[in-house]
Amino acid sequence: MFIEHQGWLAGVAVASVATAMPASAQSPASRASIGPATFASVLAPGAGVKQATVERYALDREPVTNAQFLAFVQAHPQWQRDRVAKLFAEPTYLSQWAGATTLGDKARPNQPVTQVSWYAARAYCQAQGARLPTWYEWEYAAAADETRSDARQDPVWKERILGWYAQTSGGALPDVGRTPANVHGVRDLHGLVWEWVEDYTGLMVSSDSRNQGDPEKLKFCGASALSAENRDEYAVLMRVAMLSALEANYTTANLGFRCASDGGTQP
């Protein structure tokens, strides 16, 4: 029921932004073209199916920044924090900003925007003529390192991801674009913030992750994802666990997003 609601509400939100002019339209070059590809996902697409497929798509090279999101809310006042509908964003929405349309001292322009709800992230992307990436699109892009499209078996790659988990998030977030670009030309997929994906509700890890043996839970792809055969993928699975803890109006201090679009330029 929640999911149905969500689609309906999102539709309303989209309709309202679609009438306004795009605020900070990003040039196509800010998005990297990736795929098509078939790869082993940590989330099996179905029972007995291990390979996931993505069509060719374009993905923002960097997460959306405070400055970009500020331009968006200036052009779309209904997404300013004092005007946003409570259904779309909880009270902590953009709470790190000094005001509804000012960043202030605690939010540098080039930091990734955080404290954004799924609805707000989605509306932002739609205003750019884009959308949020799907989990598979995100996961495929994030499996790469600087030289390989799939670096997931490399312990060094894993260690880098886990290094981020080992740091508390006491200090201010770094600016975007400071990690090396991966083989697709995309940065900051790891080591900066969590990121919303379009279909995060489909990830639905059981709220008690130990229930994987319960056949009733197999209807959630998350259940199979957490079985022992994938335990080496736990670095990625922790991201799934995080996303599955969220409601669409939630915002957190380490959760941002980037946009994607269909097609991309042809290889």
């Binding site: 290094g163 080992a166 508390t168 890890v205 709220s207 008690d208 229930n211 599955s244 803890a245 409601e247």
Partner: protein
């Protein structure tokens, strides 16, 4: 049995059972066929478990639970009715010292490892608020082993950073229970410190003691070695291999020593609530120099008396009581001793007070007893001091070498140097040994693998490098073998050994 119990519950409802049981302290009535008394019949002394743990709806005003950080324990409940108790527990991810100069990112319930101690009474209705601090990176939840219900609360408490979950349970079973985070990967959340204890007091409470302490063991897995400085990330492979870098009481090496030692006085009684968070190891909990008068093993209802070491499962607990008679420092250990002395599982209980010589005398006699070892040490020491003063004689070297040869070389080469034909080459009148002094030094320093011809016979075996021996010891041993078993040769000096050690390549993995 379970099915019968359920049937009774379904037929009469919980209230009916409560009423039935409350009229039957100790012994259940056997008269009513309808009541299926078999299901609730209690042997004398049985508590009746969860079936007898519901004392009806909460009474009085809701009570906010007092939570304490380790090693402190909240005051006794001291209440004779079931109440509504509100528990507010906050999850925080914090960077702290796991050992001196070694940082680790702990995920905690209440900011400490182990998490805050929770204390309620059997039959209490607990309204549980789990808050995940906004600065957290991870979602978390809680599984309390004292909860009857799927996941022990985990299914109802999955909480994103900056959010709060609430659920309510009735504490039907008395006992000391572990709670822990159950978010994927569960083992990692637990390994990072997400566990603690909740005590569900029996309706009558516990007898009063002078001190109550909260101690909880856990195993930790860092990518760096034991005591390697700096921020140490979690090592998943070590965790899967169950090969911890640290085994600790209360989340840090030194959490219970020095100024942080547990303290009591002679004549006082002490009760410890001991948990084991794991995630992997089972604890053999022991206090050196004390005997537990009582141990409520596994944190349950019964106690055993006069216990030296009690086994605490991962995800389990025990309550231990003793009386302090003799002053001194008592060392809390996991009696799997390498954990205690090489991985940090040590704590101190300091008992102050008057000496009690009738119970323990202290040291009454301190005389030398060295046995055979004394003679051995004597010649080795004599050779060492002679070497220092430059007056070392061949005889001294031979004697000191013989002492070390025994037990080091004699195991294979035999006490008479004859070796074992076809397996261990002889040293007695050995051409291989005597023709090349430098080579013989190298063999002891670096070991020897592969084919060698000794006195016309081929040996193909492995001698490990004798990494544990010093230059002096090797010089003495070789001097001994070169002047024993019919051999006659010049002495080997420590300087010669040092030279060989320096100039020969070291085999991979060999100690220096």
């Amino acid at each position: 049995m379970t099915r019968i119990t359920n049937a009774v519950a379904a037929t009469f409802g919980v209230a009916a059972i409560t009423a039935l049981v409350s009229h039957a302290p100790g012994l259940a009535p056997m008269a009513s066929a309808e009541a299926k008394p078999a299901a609730v019949a209690l042997a004398p002394g049985d508590t009746g478990g969860s079936l007898k743990g519901d004392f009806g709806p909460p009474k009085g005003a809701p009570i906010k639970a007092v939570l304490t950080s380790p090693p402190h324990v909240p005051p006794a409940v001291n209440r004779n009715y079931p109440a509504k108790v509100i528990v507010e527990l906050e999850v925080r991810e914090v960077e702290k010292e796991i050992s001196e100069g070694v940082k680790y990112t702990f995920w905690t319930f209440g900011g400490t490892v182990p998490g805050s101690f929770i204390r309620v009474r059997q039959g209490d209705t607990v309204e549980f608020h789990l808050r995940n601090h906004p600065s957290s990176k991870m979602p978390h939840n809680i599984d309390l082993h004292g909860v009857t219900g799927p996941g022990g609360g985990a299914t109802s408490s999955f909480t994103a950073p900056g959010h709060e979950s609430q659920f309510t349970f009735k504490a039907l079973n008395q006992g000391l229970y572990v709670y822990h985070c159950a978010t994927a990967p569960v083992g990692m959340h637990v390994a990072n410190g997400m566990y603690g204890l909740i005590l569900v007091e029996p309706p009558g409470g516990f007898p009063k003691v002078d001190h109550e302490f909260y101690v909880m063991q856990g195993d930790f897995y860092t990518t760096g070695k034991y005591r390697e400085k700096g921020l140490q990330p979690f090592d998943m492979q070590k965790a899967i291999d169950e090969n911890p870098t640290y085994v600790l009481f209360n989340g840090a090496e030194g959490a219970l020593v020095g100024d942080n030692a547990l303290k009591a006085k002679t004549g006082e009684s002490v009760r410890m609530y001991i948990g084991n968070g794991g995630p992997n190891l089972v604890s053999s909990f022991h206090v050196i120099g004390e005997i537990f008068d009582k141990v409520w093993f596994e944190g349950g209802t019964r106690y055993q008396e006069n216990v030296q070491t009690t086994l605490i499962p991962a995800g389990g607990s025990a309550i231990a009581e003793f009386h302090a008679e003799v002053p001194g420092s008592y060392v809390l250990v996991d009696h799997s001793l390498f954990r205690a002395f090489n991985k940090g599982a040590l704590g101190i209980l300091k008992i102050d007070g008057e000496e009690n010589k009738l119970v323990y005398s202290g040291k009454e006699v301190d005389s030398v007893y060295l046995g055979d070892y004394a003679a051995e040490q004597g010649v080795v020491a004599a050779a060492a001091s002679a070497a220092e003063s430059g007056t070392l004689t061949l005889e001294q070297q031979v004697k000191a070498g013989e002492a070390r040869y025994t037990g080091t070389c004699s195991v294979c080469h035999q006490a008479n140097g004859a070796g074992m034909e076809g397996v261990f080459p002889p040293l007695a009148q050995s051409d291989y040994l005597m023709t090349d002094k430098k080579r013989s030094i190298a063999v002891v320093v670096n070991g020897l693998t592969g084919k060698v011809d000794v006195n016309g016979k081929t040996y193909d075996s492995v001698m490990p490098p004798m990494s544990q021996l010093t230059d002096d010891e090797i010089a003495n041993i070789l001097t001994y073998v070169r002047n024993s078993f019919g051999n006659k040769g010049e002495a080997v000096t420590a300087a010669e050994v040092a030279e060989v050690r320096k100039t020969t390549p070291r085999p991979a993995g060999a100690a220096h």
